[in-house]
């Protein structure tokens, strides 16, 4: 028996169940959709604004890696690539999280972007921050969002509520048919 099965005691093969209650699943899915929405809008505003560029943000970078980010902002060819990767990357990641599509990859990519954003303006002692944004030391909203993504990686929800469930269902169906051909009944414990 799969080790995960005993966490909840029923329907262990139900995709994504993994021993969390229905209420907990709803909470996790809401968290995923909210983070996805945030990424999606950050990507969207950059896509619809023809004048947007990451140059300003890169140039205003602080902290130990500021020099690297600033250097990027001064080469327009590199900047074009960064801009495109940023606007489309944020949008794609946002769509993935909202729709629960390729959820794991989207979660990892989102976390990667947040690491970059965190490093661009790390709230370490001695850094300056924008007024009205609040006060941070080491931990800021980016880091909290990053850790929330960590929770989503630990408790995947794409197959609870998301298009991944359809993909997986389809995969299972194909696998099932293959099994039907090969044997009388499908093997147990197909996830």
């Amino acid at each position: 028996m799969d080790r995960r099965d005993d966490l909840r005691g029923r329907d262990p093969s139900r995709p994504g169940a993994r021993g969390v209650s229905g209420r907990q699943q709803v909470a996790l899915v809401l968290l995923r959709v909210a983070i996805g929405w945030h990424f999606l809008y950050e990507g969207w505003v950059k896509l619809v604004d023809p004048g947007w560029t990451s140059a300003g943000a890169l140039a205003a970078a602080q902290g130990p890696l500021a020099g690297v980010f600033r250097e990027l902002s001064t080469h327009w060819r590199i900047l074009e690539v960064v801009d495109r990767a940023m606007s489309w990357g944020l949008t794609a990641v946002g769509l993935g999280l909202v729709l629960g599509l390729l959820t794991r990859a989207a979660t990892v990519a989102a976390a990667g972007l947040l690491v970059l954003f965190y490093l661009m303006n790390p709230p370490v002692p001695g850094m300056e921050f924008l007024p009205g944004e609040g006060s941070y030391l080491i931990v800021n909203k980016i880091l909290v969002e990053l850790f929330a993504l960590g929770v989503l990686l630990a408790f995947p929800t794409g197959t609870v509520a998301g298009l991944d469930r359809l993909l997986q269902g389809r995969g299972r169906a194909i696998a099932g048919r293959a099994d039907v051909v090969g044997s009388e009944r499908p093997p147990e414990g197909i996830p």
């Binding site: 093969s13 890169l58 902002s73 001064t74 629960g100 300056e128 944004e133 998301g162 169906a173």
Partner: protein, 510 residues
Amino acid sequence: MSKGDEAPLLTRRDLLAGLATTPALVAFVVAARTHAAYRKDSRHGIFGDLLERLPLPGGAGESGAAPAGPVLNVGLIGVGYRGKQLLVAAGFAQPGQLAAGESLGTDGEAPLGIRIAGVCDIYQPNLDWGVVASGGTAVPYRKARDLIASPGIDAVILAVPDHWHVPLAVEAARAGKHVYVEKCFSHDVDGALAAAEAVKAAGVVLQLGHQGRQNSLYALAARLAGDGLLGGIRLAQAFTNHNGPVLAWNGAIPKEAGPRNVDWEAFEGNGATHPFDLDRFFHWRKYWAYGTGLSGDAFTHEWDALDLVLGGLGIPGTAIASGGIYGWRDGRETPDTYQVVYEYPERGLALTYNATQANGWRRDKILFGADATMTLEGGVRVYADRDSTRYAEFLKTGRIDPDRPIAAYLPGDGRWLDAGTSATQHWAVSRGLLYSTTPTGRRVNTATLHLRDWLDAIRSRRQPACPIDLAVVEAVTAHMGTLSMRWGCRVRWDAAARKVVPDRDTGGTA
């Protein structure tokens, strides 16, 4: 074991769960579109379609092929601080000659289609530098007149002390050579008028070296101001704050310099007679015999930007100025502290300028309009005026906050943002109602663009960006301030006599 495992096809429940979060995407699209429409309405209400019509600045240069037409043979007279910069801007310097972080102005751009056919300097190491930078194509000249007279030269760049601008420009024009001359255009008013006559008579193209005219920022600001976004502009302020020896005209004098490699007589020329003096030779800006003071040297840059943004200032009606030597009491003649007020009664505008060479604080140029205020320095920001009638409705409903820019443009220039923009400013712009944009354009050396404009003008027989008539306005404006300061009285432009004269008043008593 559930039934689903035994029949591993998509169930109704799978379908519902699979699509459970899709409505969030629908909600997102509706919300984002609603928000975008609101912003567009706000923007349209304030600006009409102005912002849609505005070309985003940036990337003004073109990369690609060299210009059509024959290669022009250019001679550079004066390979000093500015002359070297112009050579680099034109794409001529050997790798070892570039300073750290410096690159050729033509890098990533189309070449200018010129050959440096001659260089001239009266300080031998500069002359040698120019020959090397040209790639060996330049013939070295010790006498400017010989370079100008050479049949192998089509056009000359004059990067010499101010007192030599007019004599060499006139000589070049008479020889049929096109001229790019550094500012200030002339050393005195009469010189500017005489040079204009000579240039026009010869039909050559003269470009005054105000490369700031190529700054796309000012073109954008001009469009904003020209479209009436600011309302009537009745007052403008400009400033120069410089600090440190180089900007206070006291840069290091090369150790190897001396009578053996400096042609002192050629430097003085123009009627001046002083004994050999390296301070005068290298720090000529400090002396009235050669330089034009803060007015000719620093103010003219600010004047140039304001002239562009305000759509042609013309010669002012009057000027009153004062100044003193307070920061650098090193025997200099030209004040290091200077202020001037120009009146333009015909267009209903006053322009004030204030400069110091003993402090480096950065001050924006400011244009004060009845409906909005524009600050201009590395970026453009427009703030609605609290008592504006144009924006009254928006101010009343709180859609415009007078403390935040209604329009802002910050070039995507890391170095500038680094030096001139605090996080607070970025924040203010990001919270500004609209149009906070950094273009994807690359940075282009404005001197390269200005040289290109001059060469294009020569090839296509058109007027360049800063032509002879504007050069005269620049020089007269600058000299009015200097004369007012030196005479100790307000001066006015006598248009009929084409002279600057003391503006003696009625002799009122207190």
